[in-house]
Symmetry: C2
Subunit: 352 residues, 2 copies
């Protein structure tokens, strides 16, 4: 039976990516060896790394003033690396508090320096994106989270700042067209739109580094990773190769522009049903609704058992809401086909 | 043509591990979904994590006073985490300097506190393991590297210490029987004997944590990883699953005891030929020779072209020495069959 995978991450990737990744484990590049058993310094893997780094810049339309790294440790390690690299001794940073992951980033920065929370929707349980805040030049950087997976909110624009703009794009990278050159540092765990769990994309403007006069631990130092072309130590070979396959698929299928159109159509289909059908109610305020994660609930809990049975019987997977919010969450990442959204909408319609 | 993979890491794993890993990317546990697209919180992946953690303790014959973690960032991030977690404010640590990776660990610890190098073979280009040093109770911990991949040296015993014993076992873990309970903290990048690149094993005695009164960044804090059962954030799912497959294979094939016997036979076969054949010369002093990495060179460089041609024609891969040492390096990790060593020895014999 055909599965419809709405998992919040790790999540669906294109079928052809799974196929090629599976084959590479048995015989990579026709070497007669597995991708997993060759040296990361071999020319076969070095060219994977080079192509992946170049393709990210190409898709984002960024120039040589940016560097691309594939690191480990997830966004959680970036919560630590960002202040280590960008916060000056005695300096302070501005953070926007839009959800669980933003709060996690704030907590780590507070261990390393002073943090001002310039906007927060915590009191309203993160159901919207705060706006109308100011970020002056007194801050070493401003940090925000572009998409909040749990609450289903997404930043539709980014503030003009007098300081560096840093963004955690873990859950919506490559999902919509942005002027990526407005950012000084972007990071994203791969396991939504870019690849499997196990690597973290970092895109950094070179000129912002080396200004804090701190003795940064080597693995936490962006500049050292750049100097070693993202091979300071053994990289997570499989996760990077599978990310490359996903990036290649994206390029072949119209780049970020085409992904955005597909994502808008999928989100519209589902939000329209939520707004039409009195049995369902969205969580996020409408203007801040995420294209990637749609959090919603039943307005009549007595229908829960029947609804759960129906979507499971339709082959739908991963629709349960995050444990902190309950209800349902449909994640509509790049690789989810609109046919899967239609199957969900059909089930919802059968309850109206 | 059959390949004989002597790569220093990432390196050969059992063929059945590659097969099962490849299959899981297309259909994991017969779910009709890829291992890469399911939630790490799903019961299917949680049981992978639980079994992998338990199996490490079983193979090492360790009790509940130890915890097992699968982290990211390689041994390089452990170079940072060890002093962060174990070095007390104003305290100091003792390090043994046996090679490039030991020196890397020392460099990171020096950024966070005082380091005494209690023994070093650096002046002799790391051709032996220093002995006869003392480690008193004035140190917060003692750190050593059990096997040195580049130079082909290996610690045959570990010192009695009055402080904590910390060991980087990246390149010889699970290769020979040890009393693992003599260690307080063991870490190892997976990509030699345990799995693919992308995860790092940490085995830690619980009682040693929480004694430094430091505000440790979350991802760098062993205790937080323990509290979250090695899922503080999204773990590197594929690398951990493939490590589990390798651990299962190890258990099924006689555990560490049987692996040790196989490794001793392989190393003897190769070292005997090096000692017999006047055309070859080993690098490490005999008493410190590694069972895992055999570094050697030609005594007559005029034979180099012919020797290189011969081993390549025999299907041998990954025999070139590390760029810092030159010559040859045959890595004999657990999964390398003795038949491959015999092929290499046959080539060497054809030159005697």
């Amino acid at each position: 039976m055909k599965k419809h995978n709405f998992s919040a991450g790790p999540c669906i990737l294109p079928a052809e990516v799974f196929q090629k990744a599976s084959e590479a484990i048995l015989n990579f590049n026709d070497l007669g060896l597995s991708l997993l058993e060759i040296s990361h310094r071999s020319k076969d893997f070095v060219s994977v790394m080079e192509e992946a780094r170049a393709l990210v810049k190409k898709l984002m339309k960024l120039g040589d003033d940016y560097e691309v790294l594939f690191l480990q440790g997830g966004a959680s390690l970036q919560f630590v690396m960002v202040p280590f690299n960008l916060m000056k001794p005695g300096g302070k940073a501005a953070y926007l508090d839009t959800g669980t992951w933003a709060a996690g980033a704030i907590k780590e920065a507070q261990k390393l320096g002073t943090v001002d929370i310039v906007g927060s929707s915590k009191e309203q349980n993160y159901s919207f994106i705060p706006k109308n805040y100011q970020i002056g030049a007194e801050y070493d950087y401003f940090h925000c989270t572009s998409n909040n997976t749990i609450y289903g909110t997404q930043m539709k624009s980014f503030p003009e700042t007098d300081t560096l703009l840093v963004c955690d794009m873990s859950s919506d990278i490559f999902s919509k067209v942005l002027d990526f050159s407005q950012f000084d540092l972007i990071y994203a765990g791969a396991q939504k739109n870019m690849g499997p769990a196990g690597t973290t994309l970092v895109v950094v403007k070179k000129e912002i580094l080396g200004k804090t006069d701190k003795n940064i631990p080597s693995y936490l130092n962006y500049q050292l990773h750049i100097d070693k072309e993202s091979m300071l130590n053994t990289p997570p070979v499989f996760a990077i190769y599978t990310s490359l396959l996903t990036l290649q698929y994206m390029e072949k299928n119209g780049g970020i522009e085409a992904a955005e159109k597909r994502n808008e159509a999928k989100a519209k289909l589902l939000y329209d049903e939520i707004d039409r059908n009195p049995l369902f109610e969205g969580y996020a305020v409408k203007e801040d609704r995420s294209l990637m994660n749609v959090s919603f609930k039943l307005t009549d809990e007595s229908k829960k058992e029947a609804f759960d049975k129906a979507w499971k019987e339709a082959g739908i997977n991963g629709l349960n809401g995050h444990r902190s919010l309950g209800g349902y969450r449909a994640s509509l990442y790049n690789a989810l086909p609109i046919e899967s959204v239609q199957v969900l909408v059909n089930v919802m319609q059968s309850f109206s």
